[in-house]
Amino acid sequence: MENSSSQKNRVITDKVVESISRVEELAYELKIDQVMTHDPQTIAPDVVMEDVLEIFRKALISGAPVVSGDALVGILSMEDLIHCLRKNDLRAPVSEYMTKKVITVKNSEQVIEALKFFVNTKLGRLPVVDIDGKLVGILTKGDVTRGLLKALQQDYQTEELIRYRASHLFEDIESDRTSLILRYDIKAGDFVKGGTASSHIKRALLRLGASPQIARRVGIAIYEAEMNLIIHTTRGGVIRIEIEPHQILMDAYDDGPGIPDVNLAMKPGYSTATEEIRELGFGAGMGLVNISRCVDQMKLESVVDKGTRLKMKIFLNEENTVGEATP
């Protein structure tokens, strides 16, 4: 069983800690239709209050929409029932005690819309109507809580499953040397998209079971390389990552314009970036220096008018392998 506990420890859960804020996100993602109670218990307006007592008790509910034919005409809650009991008027019809001004929500709306009503009013339940105004369900605070918890659990399980599968990727594949290659095309001048490839690479490594430290080192090195391709190349370039259990090879290459003096380019603070690029927060002349700090090996080759190739390597020790649960 020692094996299974060490496998458990390998699953990285940094994202899981953030699931608290995910609740708010889910309130925007989930539709009311997904969390409401469908086909709710309804009552007719001419039913006497005494019978409502029995309906509530049997269905274990504390309120119900009042429907006449197909139309929603009111809502009756436990409070209305108590009001009626105090007046000792149980023979009266529902229509006399129900709340006639009903606030409804649409089944196609987001859960957040219902939450706004729950927070700002004292309402405990909201009838849910479809686009034609027909009653299709009822929504209580309990429905919302249950719906959110269920979605959260699903979220969590999906990411856990992706991570678990990815972190064992290499185990069942037999070869003398197995590796996973990721390629990204980087467009020149596409500043807004800059960092998308790095972001994907960092996430992939975490899913493969890399330690946060390794993922961070790779992320920073690749991000600097990606920004260099965007800022300095004529026609963009390619980032290629080769992941093996014990090492990560990173390659960034382009076809021009090339670097005239590689040694000078490596000097901290040296940069050929324009004022415009500097205003965007880049061109400090620290990119290649940063890369060399993050990786174990680095090689920069460049030929003017031909292109530049930056090769980087990070070695993973026994405890930090990727794609294998057992080193």
């Binding site: 953030e18 608290i20 804020s21 995910r22 708010e24 996100e25 500043f191 807004v192 800059g194 960092g195 998308t196 790095s198 972001s199 960092k202 946060p212 961070r216 992320g219 920073i220 991000y223 600097e224 920004m227 490596m266 000097k267 901290p268 500097r278 965007l280 927060g281 880049f282 061109g283 400090a284 002349g285 620290m286 990119g287 220096v289 940063n290 060399s292 700090r293 993050c294 174990d296």
Partner: protein, 125 residues
């Protein structure tokens, strides 16, 4: 210190509604050049910056930044806010300037998470 306490100290406004306000912030780092940030920042820091483009969020993501505070009441473009929401990085805008912000946070007991720059570039971090 958590993100909510940080927001109060900098008298700031949260721009990313989905943020986890209980997230721990271990220290601070202030810079406007993203390579400077990447060179010096340690994980779980708040990044104080005057820069508002999406690269601030990408940089924050790569460097495991816990929160971003924009100085002098800057409001970033929507694409920056969208990216921050997507990557779940809290972004706060504060009316104060960089010096005032560093001072306030330092006084509140927040340590620096800027590594002093290694003058020998061949040495490994």
């Amino acid at each position: 210190m958590n993100v909510d306490e940080l927001r109060k100290i900098v008298n700031g406004k949260l721009l990313t509604p989905n943020s986890d306000l209980s997230r721990e912030v271990k220290g601070g780092c202030g810079a406007d050049l993203m390579s400077d940030v990447l060179a010096s920042i340690q994980p779980e820091a708040v990044l104080l910056t005057g820069l508002c483009n999406p690269q601030v969020i990408r940089t924050a993501q790569m460097a495991d930044v816990a929160a971003v505070v924009l100085v002098r009441g800057k409001i970033p473009p929507q694409e920056t806010i969208d990216l921050a929401i997507q990557e779940r990085i809290p972004v706060i805008t504060s009316p104060y300037g960089m010096f005032e912000l560093c001072g306030r946070l330092h006084r509140a007991g927040m340590p620096s998470l800027e590594m002093p720059v290694d003058i020998d570039p061949s040495a490994k971090a």
